[in-house]
Amino acid sequence: MFEKVLIANRGEIALRIHRACKELGIRTVAVHSTADADAMHVRLADEAVCIGPPPARDSYLNKAAIISAAVITGADAIHPGYGFLSENADFARMVEEHGIVFIGPSPDHITMMGDKIEAKRAMVSLGVPCVPGSDGPVGDLETAVKLGAEIGYPVLIKAAGGGGGKGMKVAYDADQLAEAYRGARAEAGAAFGNDVVYIEKYLDHPRHIEFQILADAHGNVVHLGERDCSLQRSHQKVLEESPSPALNADQRHEMGEVVTSALKKLGYRNAGTLEFLYQDGRFYFIEMNTRLQVEHPVTEMICGLDLVREQIRIASGAPIAYTQADIRLQGHAIECRVNAEDPETFAPSPGRIAEYHPPGGLGVRVDSALYSGYKVPSNYDSMVAKLIVHGTSRNECLMRLRRALDEYVIGGIKTTLPLHRKLVQTPEFIDGRYDIHWLERWMGLKK
């Protein structure tokens, strides 16, 4: 096991990693920008090294500074957290070249999954379902008709050279196809000077469902069930839950088998997440995240495992100490991301925390680096806390979440707590009837 781990991140995830290290008896090195000199994880870490000025490119994205800090403090391993350098294959490679362990997958797997086309190709070959389509230009209407029948309606005709919704038409059945095909080509030609189009299946009300996996260096792979992250605003996840209200045990088991078998064949190592769109009983792979995710605690709450601890153990070469059959997913968990933002306008709201009082009691977990008197810097991401609640059933979890949200006090800045308090009272959320568009529609941001 490692003696000393350097935490190449900030905020709640840096604290999260610090906690896992302490519980393994590992010493911690916090690296921080000058803006974070007073941060909680800096105060708690065994050692702290200032690596640069506030802009992330000069500090948390500064590979040389972080590796130098690891060298001068004698750290054995680096945990990158999420964001920043966590999916940077160059960084992972540099870390390894300095004889330091990168707590994550191999640089090659990071590279592969970082290239979305390559990732999709790999997943198709490994038997993971992706969004079906023409896989290339569709030169005439006959081919389009044939593909439409194969793929199943609705289908989307998309400009190859396009973007921004231009040159994009939906056909809900074969009758609409001719018009959509011609319309898309015409629009594409006019907009981009290139009328080459593709066809793929159109998902109009998908959920975002992702599977958490763990893989060790000895060929063992397990999945820890799914997370439903469909509640999004501007492609940012707002609230996540596990299990998904949309899946049953058979679907979970079946898809779990598909992803574990794929990653076993791939020779993947450490934690990873396969993200899918899910609609009408079918999964469609979007991308794979080769790192810890923000929402990992909902999985921890239902499977009882500490995912950061598992990441560290795997990186140290230890085998996963259990099989898929040993993993029991129990009860229900929900995570609310609390951002330092105006809950109506979503304008950032950095500043000094006045009162700070997190909720406590049974089934309530708070992952946050906030404290009374802390100044939320304006330089970084606005997420300042995660409230995670567990219950034996989804209903118990929801009732507990409501009372915990009502107890949570963060003064001095605006936060999205009021948004969450409203959200957990809506009939659609209570019934689990939502897709990736629902939240924005409910908020009046989208028709």
Binding site: T34, A48, S68, I72, G373
Partner: protein, 153 residues
Amino acid sequence: MPTKNARPEFGPSSATVRRLAKLLEETGLTEIEYQDGTRRLKVARGTLAAPAAAAPAAAPAARAVEAVPAASEGPPAGAVTSPMVGTCYLSPEPGAPAFVKVGDKVREGQTLVIVEAMKVMNPIRSPRGGTVASIAVENGAPVEYGEVLLVVE
């Protein structure tokens, strides 16, 4: 009036407290704690208007590399700070004389020390002409971003 007891008055000297209070003001610090063997003295000043920052005093975590207050409070006048994390060397190679010593006159642009990072030797040059008033680091010491290396006045 001084107390005349056999056992001397227990408590710090007023002069010391006044001196440290002045230092707090001057440096913008909120707390100075000093210990020498079993003797310890701490003075603190809460932010007068703003609420006393209830900073979690990380219970027992001792730090090997202490966060440098200079980074957040601003370095003293004339200070030359490290532009990067690394290892600081006072001379060009082991055994060679130091680039500069206290009292030396230096030109702007003259190499003062070297900071090694990622196996690259980065000469740290004087931002101005002047006299080396003090050297804050030892040869071979790890330095962090913003750490004071020496003072050129």
